[in-house]
């Protein structure tokens, strides 16, 4: 188990600007965590700090497990725009399994299983890059599914997709959740947050301003910034 994840006074500055002032928080197993905030609030930076793609300029990102390899392999991330290799959809999933150290004999079965789970089995041999945006994002989820990670990070996964593709992606995310994977997702789609999340972390200018179960957050936000955001009145940062 690599959860819970503890951020201890984690800060991030770049280009002379402090994007995330020192932030401490604990993320545990179970509840799906939604990170909400306006554009520029620091959602993406926070996710990347948690996932290890960015190193904090202060503080510590600490998982329960000390082994860096296990920590890496128990996480997966899906980005707003999926990045696929110039290979078939199937080969892209196999690549991820290979990188994660899965034995050669197991890779094929796990890859096919993952493609089936997201409904892409019929497109398995298609070059990944000719798939539609929605299909590629489902493929990114299949790639993550095959790894059976403990934690799945998603950075605005449906921001570039149309409503029907969005629905398909949300169905897969629900399947992840049902199978026990911890979901940490950044979004600015309030409806999506309500549909998929159990708790909300609300960021305002890099600060964690509110943390609450999803229904209470939307019905009775305790901070002025959150209330304004929900009302849709928050100006772009």
């Amino acid at each position: 188990m690599i959860l819970p994840l503890r951020l201890e006074a984690v800060a991030f500055a770049a280009g002379g600007r402090e994007i995330i002032p020192p932030l401490s928080l604990e993320v545990g197993a179970g509840a799906s965590t939604i990170i909400l905030g306006a554009n520029g609030a620091g959602k993406s930076v926070l996710m990347r700090l948690m996932h290890g793609l960015l190193a904090p300029t202060a503080g510590r990102v600490a998982w329960q497990d000390a082994d860096p390899k296990r920590v890496r392999r128990q996480q997966a991330m899906v980005f707003q725009r999926p990045v696929m290799l110039r290979r078939s959809a199937f080969a892209n999933v196999v690549y991820a399994l290979e990188a994660a150290g899965v034995r050669a004999g197991e890779r094929r079965a796990r890859a096919l299983d993952a493609l089936r789970e997201v409904g892409l089995l019929g497109l398995a041999e298609r070059p990944a890059r000719v798939l539609s945006g929605g299909e590629q994002q489902r493929l990114a989820l299949a790639r993550a599914w095959a790894l059976h990670p403990e934690v799945l990070f998603l950075d605005e996964p449906t921001a570039s997709l149309d409503p029907s593709a969005t629905r398909e992606i949300e169905a897969v995310i629900r399947a992840f959740d049902a199978s026990g994977t911890k979901i940490v997702m950044a979004t600015h789609n309030l409806g999506q947050a309500r549909r998929l999340g159990d708790e909300v972390l609300y960021l305002h200018q890099g600060r964690l301003v509110e943390r609450a179960p999803v229904e209470r957050f939307f019905k009775e936000p305790s901070s002025a910034e959150a209330a304004a955001f929900i009302k849709g009145e928050l100006p772009w940062v």
Binding site: M77, R86, A96, A99, P127, R129
Partner: protein, 234 residues
């Protein structure tokens, strides 16, 4: 203009009536240059890619040096390799001077920076797109470099062709290291130089035309293969 055109036609006629010797020369030219391109590609692509994704101290200095080496004068490379391979030099015991393998070595040294530098630029551009996803999957360093090289292989064809063009075109390195020995180390470019120096300009022009035609054919073939493969694999 008329004079040049006439000379070219005269040269082509001479070339067409020429004996087996010419085709031996063409075959040797292709063997040497293609071998050098193969070696430079095998060494240069991983090298360029590793520099692209790497984060070592002095990285920018390495990039500047690599780019600068693209402009290595062939005669300077020829001289350096000559001194290395000469019996009086450090690698003399192998007797590679005045042999085709020696010429391959010289041309590989010449075009390795070209292939590596162009690859470095292409991979660096691709790394910007792939970096987060690959690192998320736990892929970095040499493994990431090789993944990128394979993924952008179609655009790397240009880097390889740049190396091929340079190898086929140069005289300085192969003439010093090969010795332009009749029947042994004489290639198209050195033959052209020889015929020009003998004042036999029509023949030199004819050979030059054949050389350009061959290089064009190689490039056209590469483009056809690249286009077909790209359509298949996206």
């Amino acid at each position: 203009m008329q004079g040049i055109a006439n000379s070219v036609l005269e040269g082509l006629r001479l070339v067409a009536t020429l004996d087996l010797r010419l085709w031996e020369i063409v075959a040797l030219s292709l063997e040497v240059s293609l071998s050098a391109v193969a070696a430079a590609t095998l060494l240069g692509l991983p090298l360029g890619a590793a520099i692209a994704v790497g984060r070592m101290p002095g990285r920018r200095a390495v990039i500047v040096a690599l780019n600068a080496l693209m402009g290595l004068p062939p005669v300077v490379v020829g001289l350096a390799v000559y001194l290395l391979l000469s019996r009086a030099g450090p690698l003399g015991e192998f007797g590679l001077l005045f042999t085709p393998p020696g010429m391959v070595i010289a041309q590989t040294v010449l075009i390795l920076p070209i292939v590596a530098a162009l690859c470095r630029q292409s991979v660096e551009d691709a790394w910007r797109e792939y970096e987060e996803q690959l690192r998320s999957l736990g892929v970095q360093g040499l493994r990431a470099a090789l993944t990128l090289v394979w993924d952008i292989r179609f655009s790397l064809v240009t880097a390889v062709l740049a190396g091929l063009g340079r190898a086929c075109a140069e005289v300085g390195a192969v003439i010093i290291v090969g010795g332009n020995i009749d029947g042994v180390t004489r290639v198209m470019t050195t033959t052209i130089a020889l015929e020009t120096s003998k004042g036999d300009l029509p023949l030199a022009l004819g050979l030059g035309t054949v050389l350009i035609a061959i290089v064009f054919a190689l490039n056209a073939t590469a483009e056809v293969i690249r286009g077909a493969a790209q359509r298949r694999y996206g």
